[in-house]
Symmetry: C2
């Protein structure tokens, strides 16, 4: 299965004003499980609000909020086709081959060492000659600054940068909209993206170790099988990383592009690590497939359906030369609706800002208590149940030594009760992988997604400010009155995009939370029912005197 | 209800060789709940063993083993008649008016301050002139030495004391056996006490505050209602204490007399304290009622059925003058079986020693883990469930603010799920009072009972040693050959008593553990079933997409 790909160069975004990818580098985003049923299309219109405050400026000062905690897996029974994929790792997690393997193998992967921004020798060496996309300071900050706080610093280091982006779009001569036209319709809920008839999906499976340079270097590659062609293509992590960079460059100003799963958690070739990375890559791909704009893009289609190395190379070079990146994505957008008043634009912006901030707080709160609960359930609690079980069995054993006749029923029953509590200990320790894991995962993913919004919203705020400055700029002959009207029209287009994206977000959020809450409660019910049944069985061993 | 009793003097055992009560001052014993069904009579014969080692000499060096942790209460549904007694304290523990009130009011009452051996001004002032039974040094040590370790010290301070006891009985001219004859029969399990046809039981209820000396002193008195007369008598704590001293004096050499519940835990007139003391007194009385020898004794019958103050005073004086105390109890014992060989006596002694030591270890182990579990279940665990519940409700509230239409089903369901976890938090915190409490209680009681055995066994060991010395004593003309034969016969009688007591212990142990394990598991099943049902209900609120 091992296969060497053609020249792949780390294409960090260049430190020019053309790129807005820095804005998008919020906290790393969790990818999630593939979704069989399609999330319902957005169907209602967001309220309007009228508050002009800054989006939460302290967002990224919450250091924990920005760490690269990418992890994803598939809840049992919710995987489409994936469960049929071969599992070369022979997991012993009964019935949950893709569940998080628990703290015995990895501690709850909350804080991940991301100190080295550079790729390491195992997985991140680039096979071929570097392309001409130099990795300048801005790029380095971007890659290394996967935490929200460092991203904030990088923004502060380039004052005006975030404004130059929207300015570029607001005043530029628009290129003709070609194949790339992104229509925004008015749905029941307001502006919505154009959703495809059939939803794209893919399976990431079958990780295999390969080597090159006469075995000096080894790597893992994964099969990616889109549901459109059913034909597997092979990709290494660095190819996913290349795709991520392309999507970030191209769509990042308008669409939150969740970061890839982090590069390294622990031993590179440990089975568990590979399995976890695969699950996270699966989750990331699934979320990208769910997005109507991303999934329909040339670069994404190339990644999923390239025919051979030549095809891949050609497509790769084309993608790297794409000029419709950064804020210029807005030039492809065509709203099917009247221009919005700048005041309405500002209101929407504020509303989204407040909501995403509030949701971010709620999600972090749940993550915090979930992490504590995880620790307790996998640590002291089962140990205690085990000790209770041992104590019952020990007492039973002592009773057996009494020499007093006729207490076998009691001692047998006490022994059984003891074993039952040992079984309960085991169940308690394993349960978080079956339910809490997925609750954590979903919330962690949303934490990452929400972390992208302050920057997205920042672009809009900057654009709004530019339009507000319009009169002064016209008076100072910096722009013409026509320019000002154009800016207002374009900021309206940006707002359509933001609203469409928010509606996409809401629609997916409702779907995801409904599903994960159901899964969680279902598993919790099973858990408590099983314990009750075991105890009922243990109870029946005692005689009624 | 307040009533002043006639002269009651603290009758500490006098520091003479006649008293063996020091031997009995093992760790304080827990009294237990009243038992409706009668424990089965002993029905099998203990094994014989042939090891001559000392009973566990380090027993009392385990300081925690000897602390006065008397506490008892009635498991729900197992109280005879008691639940019909009025509860003037209006407890808010739903459905468990007599369950331990939890750490919010009392911390798990494990380590109790027993620093003051003297009675305090509230409850322990003696109403009347002190009797002529002076409380000498030995008595003071006895009362103050309620912990095992201090008792050991008191024994060490009087070397030879523990030998003088059995010696007294082994060589004395036996008084004629009168009404007090204690027959030991050979049952299926070996020697057994003579059990009465109907088991005595009593209810301790209706604690009332009284006062005297024009209100300067106040106290609590309890109604005690025996099932034989159904006529209530009133007793203050100090009367129970007087009874305890009498029983200890009279039977302590042969029968473990569990200590009373400790004098003071916390605020004297707090409702919870009084209720808890009442429960513990109930448990103590129940265990005394269950013992065929104790329950049939004059002093115990006096306590339960005295007709008036005159009757009480007369009986009290008579009891205090009783000379059949200490090791002389053995002179009342009449085994219906052949004399035992001293080797067999020693083997039995060793066997009981090993068993009680092993059970003591097992019980302490269970108590330790139970205490930890109690802390967790009433502390951090429910807090965590509450936080999870709050986090769900908070997220639901944030979602409601999205302005996106059609998510009311989700937000309502999440809110309900959150409330469910808050309910679970409450259930988790309250559960230990419903099950773990009784498990702890039973084991704590047995810890106390087991703590009495090293001393009981010590008396036997001393007697066995005396018999072993027989030949030398005869040669030295200290005793006659007839004396030696008498000693062997009398040590055989002592062994019958020990065996009868062990069989009584085993019989009660089997009954108690069978019952408490059933109760524990029953309540645990209910607990987990209720949680599962609540979660099932919460789950049903979500829509299947």
């Amino acid at each position: 299965m091992s296969q060497t790909y053609p020249s792949l160069t780390p294409l960090h975004p260049q430190p020019t004003t053309l790129h807005v990818t820095r804005w998008m580098l919020g906290p790393v985003v969790l990818s999630r499980t593939p979704l069989t049923p399609r999330p319902p299309p957005p169907s209602s219109s967001p309220d309007e609000a009228s508050n002009g405050n800054d989006p939460w400026s302290v967002w990224n000062q919450d250091a924990t909020g920005g760490s690269s905690n990418n992890w994803a897996a598939q809840p049992e029974g919710t995987v489409t086709g994936k469960s049929a994929a071969p599992d070369p790792w022979g997991s012993n997690t009964q019935g949950h081959p893709q569940a998080y393997q628990g703290p015995d193998i990895y501690p709850y992967p909350y804080i991940i060492d991301f100190s080295g921004a550079e790729d390491d020798e195992w997985d991140d060496e680039w096979d071929d000659v570097k392309s001409n996309s130099e990795s300048g300071e801005g790029g380095a900050i971007q890659r290394g600054g996967a935490t929200g706080s460092s991203m904030k610093i990088s923004l502060n280091k380039f004052p005006g940068f975030s404004k130059s982006g929207p300015e570029l779009f607001l005043l530029c001569k628009l290129p003709p909209k070609g194949k790339e036209k992104l229509t925004i319709y008015m749905g029941e809920v307001g502006p919505v993206w154009s959703y495809p008839e059939a939803q794209l999906d893919c399976v990431v499976a079958d990780p295999k170790k390969g080597s090159k340079m006469y075995g000096l270097k080894s790597y893992i590659e994964y099969q990616v099988i889109p549901n459109t062609t059913n034909r597997p293509v092979n990709h290494r992590y660095k190819h996913f990383d290349w795709l991520y960079e392309r999507l970030l460059d191209k769509f990042g100003s308008a669409i939150p592009i969740p970061s890839l799963p982090d590069k390294q958690v622990t031993g590179r070739f440990e089975e568990e690590f590979i399995k976890m990375r695969m699950e996270r890559l699966q989750g990331w791909m699934t979320r990208m497939c769910r997005h109507p704009v991303v999934s329909n893009s040339d670069v994404f289609q190339l990644f999923l359906t390239f025919k051979d190395e030549k095809d891949w190379k050609t497509g790769k070079r084309k993608a790297e030369k794409d000029e419709g990146v950064g804020v210029m994505i807005f030039s492809s957008i065509e709203p099917e609706g009247p221009d919005l008043d700048p005041i309405e634009v500002e209101q929407k912006c504020e509303q989204f800002s407040r909501f995403t901030k509030a949701m971010d707080d709620g999600v972090k709160d749940l993550l915090n208590v979930g992490q504590e609960h995880w620790k307790r359930c996998t640590g002291p609690l089962p140990k205690e149940y085990q000790r209770i079980g041992k104590a019952f069995q020990n007492l039973s054993s002592v009773f057996t030594s009494s020499g007093y006749q006729g207490e076998a029923t009691l001692t047998d029953a006490m022994n059984e009760a003891g074993k039952t509590y040992e079984e309960i200990a085991q169940m308690v320790a394993e349960q978080p992988r079956k339910d809490l894991h997925f609750l954590m995962e979903t919330n962690n993913e949303y934490k990452g997604l929400l972390g992208c919004f302050p920057d997205t919203i920042g672009v809009h705020k900057a654009a709004i400010e530019k339009v507000k400055e319009g009169d002064r700029l016209v008076a100072a002959s910096k722009i013409t009155a026509q320019d000002k009207a154009t800016m207002a029209k374009r900021v309206s287009t940006m707002s359509y995009a933001l609203q469409a994206e928010m509606n996409h977000f809401h629609s997916n959020r409702i779907y995801d939370y409904n599903r994960v809450m159901q899964l969680y409660l279902e598993e919790q019910v099973k858990f408590y029912e099983t314990i009750a049944e075991k105890l009922r069985q243990a109870h029946s061993q005692f005689t009624t005197m």
